[in-house]
Amino acid sequence: MLEIKCPHCGSRSQNEFSYGGDSSVKRPELGKEVPDKDWDDFIYFRNNPRGKHSELWHHVAGCRQWFKVLRDTSTHEIFKTAKLTEEL
């Protein structure tokens, strides 16, 4: 069982959260001419490291806020969590 520290509510069990994937993907800017390749990268191409991974989680059964988590994908250790507006 993962124990995840929501930056708003504190430590809770994994059951309260849902996952949102790689937090480094950036949506192309709105209202701008964007090459197809940038859209492809945004939609389909993610970081997939073995080791430290910065990712999004949603405290879906709690405060319902999205936030960032730095987690190891091979040990599942969680190093740090942060609000969306903060740096990890």
């Binding site: 069982m1 069990s13 389909y44 990712e55």
Partner: protein
């Protein structure tokens, strides 16, 4: 190679089974090979087999960082099927089903192919409609599909919850009668034995750590057992594909996720088919030993750990109990996990790459066991002829740029939900 037959069995019985030849031998790497296959899982071994058999290339090494069959090929729940709606998938996997039908004869190794039928249960009229549509698409592609009503299902799977109080009442189901199971270790060992007898080197505990690329052409691979020269490399490393691709400066539309499965203690015959729950993600079948083989959801976050977490198992088994209430009385014997190469549209990738002589086979998600023969067969063609096989021509990497995705389930790119 000593052939397996009733006569060799009788003969060896008299010798107390002490004189069987080893099935395949572990080798040490030579300096150079015509083709290096990375990964001694089902797909790597099958690729080497069809390279040797169909394309007469036998100077091959299959490099495995762990032990043969220790990856997903030995961790899956062995379901075989071609019950797909989209043509590229239907035609590809159906070709595979035909290969399963005589794989035991082909390999002279009993892979225990058991066409016991796979039943997808529907729990609403809407779901039943979707299944009709899929079943019809299957039939148009020559794939066997039958719709089952509630009364027929009552006779076929009497232990499912047909009561008035069922949370998800069973409305009917879609069945592929030729779908079923096969013994996964036997598939790995059967291919390994054949390729070894044709001169292919199987090298265990040999991890590929890098590539030697010059002027856009592959020259060799770096491994934990030294450098090996080659002009062609096939990647068959399932959940580890992104890590090797990164060493080739490729970013792939793939995420690695852990999928768990489990077996119960063995019980008397209870379930004759493979059955999937339609109101969630749970499926089961009964092994020849009597264990219930059960699986369902991914754990739901990127993972390279070949082990999972309890909440997912609990969730999956809760669905199991909703479907077959008497499963609640069984004890779980073993649980395990494997790392899935989840592609962004749920379909595989078999292709050449931007590097001359490097070929890619990945994106199998949680359904690559059934593809083992046909994946090996089409990938061997791709490597030998340096061209994509027609049957796998829709599985190219550039579909993520051209928009020709094959998203069978319409799930989008949240791979962990699938």
């Amino acid at each position: 190679m000593q052939r397996y037959s009733i006569f060799s069995l009788i003969k060896n019985a008299f010798g107390g089974h002490k004189d069987w030849e080893v099935a395949w031998k572990d080798s040490e790497p030579k300096k150079e090979y015509d083709v290096v296959i990375i990964g001694a899982g089902g797909h790597g071994l099958a690729t080497a087999y069809y390279l040797a058999k169909e394309h007469k290339i036998t100077n091959i090494a299959v490099l495995e960082k762990g032990w043969l069959g220790g990856g997903n090929v030995g961790r899956n729940t062995t379901i075989l099927r071609s019950n797909y709606m989209f043509d590229p998938n239907g035609l590809f996997y159906e070709h595979g089903m035909k290969m399963w039908e005589n794989l035991s004869q082909e390999l002279n190794y009993n892979v225990m192919y058991s066409p016991r039928g796979i039943i997808n249960l529907a729990h609403s009229d809407a779901q039943l409609n979707v299944f009709y549509r899929r079943g019809n698409s299957m039939r148009l592609n020559g794939i066997d599909a039958v719709m089952l009503g509630r009364d027929e299902l009552k006779k076929m799977i009497p232990f499912a919850d047909f009561s008035e109080s069922a949370r998800f009442p069973i409305f009917g189901g879609l069945m592929q009668p030729r779908g079923g199971t096969a013994r996964h270790d036997a598939v790995a060992w059967g291919y390994a034995r054949q390729i070894n007898s044709m001169g292919v080197d199987i090298i265990q505990h040999c991890e590929v750590t890098g590539f030697d690329v010059q002027n856009g052409k592959i020259q060799g691979v770096q491994t934990s057992k030294g450098n090996i020269k080659t002009k062609k490399v096939g990647l068959c490393v399932a959940g580890n594909t992104s890590l090797l691709a990164e060493k080739l400066n490729m970013k792939l539309p793939i995420e690695s996720h852990v999928l768990q499965a489990c077996v119960s203690e063995p019980v008397k015959p209870f379930l004759d088919h493979v059955v999937t729950f339609g109101a969630g993600h749970f499926y089961c079948s009964q092994s020849d030993k009597g264990e219930m083989v059960m699986g369902g959801d991914l754990d739901g976050y990127n993972s390279y750990a070949q082990r999972g977490n309890l909440p997912t198992l609990q969730h999956v088994l809760t669905e199991g109990v909703a479907m077959f209430p008497n499963l609640s009385r069984l004890k779980i014997l073993r649980t395990w996990g494997g790392i899935m190469d989840m592609s962004m549209d749920g379909s595989p990738i078999i292709d050449k790459t931007h590097i001359d002589g490097v070929y890619l086979n990945c994106g199998w998600c949680y359904g690559g066991f059934k593809a083992t023969p046909v994946s090996g067969w089409t990938f061997a063609h791709t490597i030998a002829k340096d061209e994509v096989h027609e049957l796998s021509s829709k599985y190219r990497l550039n579909r993520f740029n051209t928009g020709h995705l094959i998203d069978e389930k319409g799930l989008g790119t949240k791979t962990w939900i699938g």
